[in-house]
């Protein structure tokens, strides 16, 4: 019997194909390079550029370039570059941790609501809606002012107000995938419910959640900056938002002190968005056909 062999012998997982797609997306690759650069700076920058960022090193609000301080000094005469480098770590940590909190809560609620019908779904969706209609900024301000403006608390507050979006996406994906035949096949094959949820449906539901989580990092950084700007922050750590917040009164005299961290936030969030878009295209099987 003649057999036409159209099958490549090498197994290519959906993930390796997605990676291939991502690599071909120039904007996303540029975004990823920028993001990795920022992450590397955040991780090893403090070692390469020593000195406590909270030390006064020069006259306050000295413009960039003077006395060798690349980005000038802030209102207390601290080195802006040093603050920025240390701030990168803080902002990224807050962003990533808040996205993590968001995804954990969102996936749990969304997966349960999407898998089980009936009262579980009803109850969880009402809860989701409750959190969704809360004015996010106000609610997080209340949490932070009640429980103290520490970074973990701020992270938690951001996570608490952001998870409904993830929960809704997860639930929608679960409801779609639950009806697919391979899930029915797994049920017919005696697969237990918890395994159905976490190792059959969830991996297939992940692509849009991953994209959402990536974008979440960006919006959490922005959110933290917003809270810091309003003064709801830990004054002992210098996030980018906190730098902006503390220098805001001098915006007219020394706009660089606000602009420089602002641009840092902008570049980071933009890089994250590019990566998120790239992931979105790469994980979308419909676009992969070409």
């Amino acid at each position: 019997m003649t057999q036409i062999d159209d099958t490549p012998a090498k197994a290519r997982s959906p993930f390796s194909e997605a990676f291939e797609m991502f690599r071909r997306n120039h904007a996303a690759v540029i975004g990823l390079v920028i993001l990795l650069t920022i992450i590397i700076i955040a991780l090893i920058g403090p070692m390469l550029y020593p000195g406590d960022p909270f030390d006064m090193v020069w006259v306050p609000l000295s413009p960039p370039g003077e006395e060798g301080y690349l980005f000038g000094t802030d209102y207390l005469g601290r080195d802006m570059l040093s603050l920025l480098i240390h701030g990168a770590k803080v902002s990224l940590t807050v962003g990533v941790s808040a996205a993590f909190v968001t995804v954990i809560i969102g996936i749990t609620v969304g997966a349960l609501a999407g898998f089980y019908r009936g009262w579980v779904e009803e109850a969880l969706m009402r809860l989701t809606e409750f959190f969704q209609v809360l004015p996010t900024l106000l609610f997080s301000m209340v949490i932070v002012s009640l429980f103290g403006a520490s970074l973990p608390m701020i992270t938690l507050a951001i996570g608490l107000v952001s998870w409904p979006a993830v929960a809704r996406i997860t639930r929608a994906e679960f409801m779609r995938i639950r009806e697919l035949e391979y899930v029915t096949a797994a049920r017919a094959g005696g697969v237990k419910n918890n395994k159905l949820i976490f190792s059959v449906i969830l991996p297939n539901a992940l692509p849009p959640i991953i994209v959402q989580a990536a974008l979440m990092v960006g919006s959490a950084i922005l959110f933290e900056a917003g809270l810091s700007f309003l003064g709801l922050t830990d004054p002992n750590v210098a996030s980018w938002g906190q730098i902006i917040g503390s220098n805001r009164e001098y915006i007219l005299d020394a706009s660089f002190a606000v602009t420089v961290p602002g641009v840092a936030i902008f570049i980071t969030v933009m890089a994250i968005s590019l990566v998120g878009d790239g992931l979105n295209d790469a994980l979308n099987p419909k676009l992969r056909q070409r």
Binding site: M1, T2, Q3, I4, D6
Partner: protein
Amino acid sequence: MTEPLLKIENLRIELALRSGQAPVIDDLSLELNAGETLSFVGESGCGKSMTALAIMGLLPEKVGSIASGRILFDGRDMAQMNDTELRAIRGNEISMIFQEPMTSLNPVYTVGEQIAEVLRRHKGMNKRDAWARAIELLDAVRIPNAKSRVSAYPHQMSGGQRQRVMIAIALACEPKILIADEPTTALDVTVQAQIFDLLRDLGRDTGTAVILITHDMGAVAEMADRMVVMYAGRKAEYGPVSPVINHPRHPYTKGLISCVPHLLAELTEERPDLTEVPGIVPALASFGTDACLFASRCDLADDKCRSQRPPEVAFGDQHSACWKADQI
């Protein structure tokens, strides 16, 4: 004999692949006469739908294009026409119905509005006349109670009724050619019988030529006058339906007929295994090769089949592109 309504000469359509250009339609010639039904058969990926899209001037832009050949409709070459000229023909003189009647209708307009819109655009009718004509058309495609159904939305109709509406829209401008691309694949068999009945009567009454694209040999036997068996972008066999089905001269045609368990007039206890056509249609990239593309699935194939493209051999009106046609 009079000039055929549609004459395709040596048509070659190329598709841009990552690996280069591949001919999805390779040297296709055929004629369609007024009032007749011509059927295209073959597996998916053999170029049936691509031919239809080319006739409609609807090839996917930047992906597929006519590389050479002519599509003569009423003596004019459609392959050379610009978009404006094509648009004047499309939906007016040549129209098309598709497989999926749900997605081909716009859900936010009533079916009457959608039929009337076509009439106003192509025929310049006023609102009132177009509406009245829409009712007539729904009646013509045998939608019961057309007067009230004309105000129904697509989701309020069954799949069969939606396909009738599609046919009504396609017929609105009294086209000379109706292309039906797997029109009943999404429908139940009793509804398919109704639609076939309708198409047959319409062809007889209006003289519209029908191109029926299908994978179902039974449907061909029942509906068509002549048939074209397509394989990998090429014409494997063509001719009048009866001789082709009763005595196929191409192993692919033969395989397509005998691999399907048919309902016979009288069933017997005997049930031999179905004839298998092993393998699948080759990948697009190999479509242009100078060889018989069916050779890899054919048990008659020899070295010649694998190294030279077979020419068409005529057996009366029946033509087969096979080196071994006389042995079959």
